[in-house]
């Protein structure tokens, strides 16, 4: 398994760049890209949580958007009902998503292979349709929030810079947790199950329970990403649970690097960056070929993804590690 091990220097540079980013943007007077960077951080958190299931656990879950969406909706409904404190809303979102992951995982993990892919997809569609029919909370039109969640202690999430740092802290915590988890006994067992489930079972590990715990942890982290996402846009609608959203999260993990610590973060940056690049930066020679090309960002994403799957299955992390299989 090719794993990116950035040296302390690279890690330091990445952390410094992430910390300095809002100040650079303020100097440039650019509000859009600060908000955009927060969005990348949140998706990086969601993709990192999926990478735990997909990359480390080898479980091809095609319904991760269900957990992001559950977190987003639970925190939004609490906000809409007047519970403004993030200290209540976000743990509630995490707990609800963990519970959803427990219920969905308990049934889905009894199946294998393609059946697992399909049943996670089906459960995600179920949550999508359920949310769609919640007329009291906007139904298919979505729910506009009065404000972002309140943290207190002088931290104002409505300030774009503060929100950026909160999202960054959440992602950093997730990455540290994933690193610790991957090197713990639990992480080794999970990877052993990925490599050979029958053998792990024969050695005597309760395979089903290990997989379920892994699934629930990832679901909980996705719930936090969902709560952040809802607060970030001050708006949530059922499309956060749509199956194409689950697909996008998988795309991020694959582009970034399956089973690599930085895979989710790299993939979220690459995918959202590519979409933004196509949509907002006009390139003359492409425009000459296809005048309305900024409206067709999906085409670029699709072609890049095809190229990654066919030619670089280890993703960006694999290219950076330059360790051919």
């Amino acid at each position: 398994m090719a794993r990116l091990r950035p040296g302390a220097v690279v890690l330091g540079l990445v952390v410094a760049a992430a910390l300095a980013f809002p100040f650079v943007m303020r100097a440039e007077g650019d509000a859009y890209y600060l908000s955009f960077a927060s969005r990348i951080l949140i998706y990086a958190l969601a993709a990192t949580s999926l990478n735990l299931v997909l990359g480390y656990g080898g479980m091809i879950s095609f319904g991760h958007a269900a957990f992001v969406g559950t977190g987003a909706y639970v925190s939004s409904i609490l906000l809409a009902e007047g519970v403004a404190s993030a200290w209540i809303g976000w743990p509630a979102a995490i707990a609800a998503s963990a519970l959803a992951a427990l219920a969905i995982g308990a049934v889905s993990l009894r199946t294998r292979g393609v059946y697992f892919i399909m049943i996670t997809l089906a459960f995600a569609q179920m949550t999508y349709f359920l949310v769609n029919s919640m007329k009291a909370y906007g139904g298919d039109e979505g729910l506009t929030l009065p404000a972002r969640a309140r943290v207190g202690g002088g931290i104002d999430l409505d300030d774009a810079q503060t929100f950026y740092y909160v999202a960054l802290a959440a992602l950093a915590a997730a990455l540290v947790a994933l690193h610790r988890l991957a090197h713990s006994r639990f992480g080794r067992v999970i990877r052993a199950i990925r490599e050979n489930e029958t053998r792990a079972e024969a050695i005597g590990f309760p395979v089903y329970r290990y997989k379920l715990v892994c699934f629930v942890i990832a679901g909980a982290a996705a719930g936090l990403a969902g709560a952040l996402l809802a607060s970030h846009g001050k708006y949530v609608n059922p499309s956060v649970l749509h199956w194409t959203q689950s697909g996008s999260l998988m795309v991020m993990v694959i582009i970034g690097g399956v089973g690599s610590l930085w895979g989710g973060a790299l993939g979220a940056t690459a995918l959202l960056g590519l979409e933004d690049l196509v949509a907002n930066h006009r390139v003359a020679w492409v425009a000459a070929l296809l005048p309305n090309y900024p409206q067709h960002a999906g085409l670029a994403v699709g072609l890049v993804l095809l190229a990654v799957v066919l030619f670089a299955p280890q993703g960006i992390a694999g290219l950076l590690a330059r360790r051919p299989r």
Partner: protein, 305 residues
């Protein structure tokens, strides 16, 4: 009165089920024989509908337009198989899911560039009115046509798979690919042919459902998921399973949407019923799938013993 309503919804369910079968049969064959998850199946359904709408407006004849769209879509499908999908057979399911997910994005944008977001496609003039099945029972003649064509296509497919030489190879490939290869079946060509048939069936479903639903970008995505539910319920790789699964899902979905809100209304206070009825109806097929998978993890008719 109520009996006629139930009969009408049952016919609607049958019609939806047969169209689902046209999609699910191709999906389950591609999966059963090539061990390939093809999310882009819904894109072929969309392409078939757009091609049909184009040919219908070019020729001025619904039948001729649909008849042209089917081989055109089949040819596109075979081209896609030979150029790209063939490279994915040996890869893991994750790569297949992602590559074909990428194809959905590419096809959606390609269709948007060539045709725009939607195309008009109307049912033929002669079939626009209802017919009287028996005194007091009116039913859309176009939906009857769909049922007839769907049943004919299902019959033809059954004949093809169960009675012909190519069908024998298909069944051999689905039950044990390595053995079929060892016995000298020309597997690469078989794969291309199967993919062409699957794409053609997609076009039939897309063209026929076009006037009822809508010919628009993204039309293949939601029905694709339902088709996956069908083949998982039926047992992946089994055409018989796909037929039974399609009819079950078509009926359960249609009947559920029509009668669950009424049934809930009889037991629950109206406010709760108006919210819970449609919500339960929309998740009914997924619940059904979860229950069946819990009881029979390999589906109703597992193709491999």
């Amino acid at each position: 009165m109520s009996g006629i309503l139930i009969l009408e919804q049952a016919l609607n369910g049958l019609q939806f089920g047969l169209m689902l079968f046209l999609l699910a049969a191709g999906l389950t064959l591609v999966f059963g024989i090539m061990d390939m998850i093809n999310l882009a199946h819904g894109s072929l359904y969309m392409l078939g509908a757009f091609l049909a709408a184009t040919f219908v407006s070019l020729t001025g004849s619904f039948a001729l337009g649909v008849l042209l769209a089917v081989p055109a879509t089949a040819a596109l499908g075979m081209l896609l198989e030979m150029s790209l999908l063939r490279r994915l057979y040996a890869r893991d399911h994750l790569s297949q899911v992602l590559a074909t997910f990428a194809l959905i994005l590419v096809f959606n944008e390609a269709v948007r560039i060539v045709w725009g977001t939607d195309l008009p496609l109307a049912a033929p003039e002669a079939l626009s009115g209802p017919v009287e099945l028996f005194p007091g029972m009116l039913y859309s003649s176009y939906r009857l046509l769909i049922i007839a064509v769907g049943a004919a296509a299902a019959g033809l497919l059954y004949y093809l798979v169960a009675k012909t030489r190519i069908g024998m190879r298909v069944r051999a490939g689905a039950s044990n690919r390595e053995m079929a290869l060892a016995m000298g079946a020309d597997i690469p060509r078989l794969f291309t042919v199967v993919f062409g048939i699957a794409a053609g069936l997609c076009a039939v479903a897309g063209a026929l459902l076009g006037p009822i639903l809508a010919v628009q970008v993204g039309m293949g995505e939601n029905i694709l998921i339902v088709a996956f539910v069908v083949i998982v319920i039926g047992g992946i790789g089994s055409v018989r399973g796909a037929l039974v699964g399609s009819l079950i899902v078509g009926m359960v979905d249609t009947i559920g949407r029509a009668f669950l809100p009424i049934a809930f209304g009889a037991f629950l206070p109206p406010q709760l019923a108006s919210a819970a009825g449609p919500a339960t109806a929309s998740v009914l097929v997924y619940l059904l799938m979860a229950v069946i998978l819990t009881l029979r993890p390999q589906g109703l008719f597992p193709a491999r013993g």
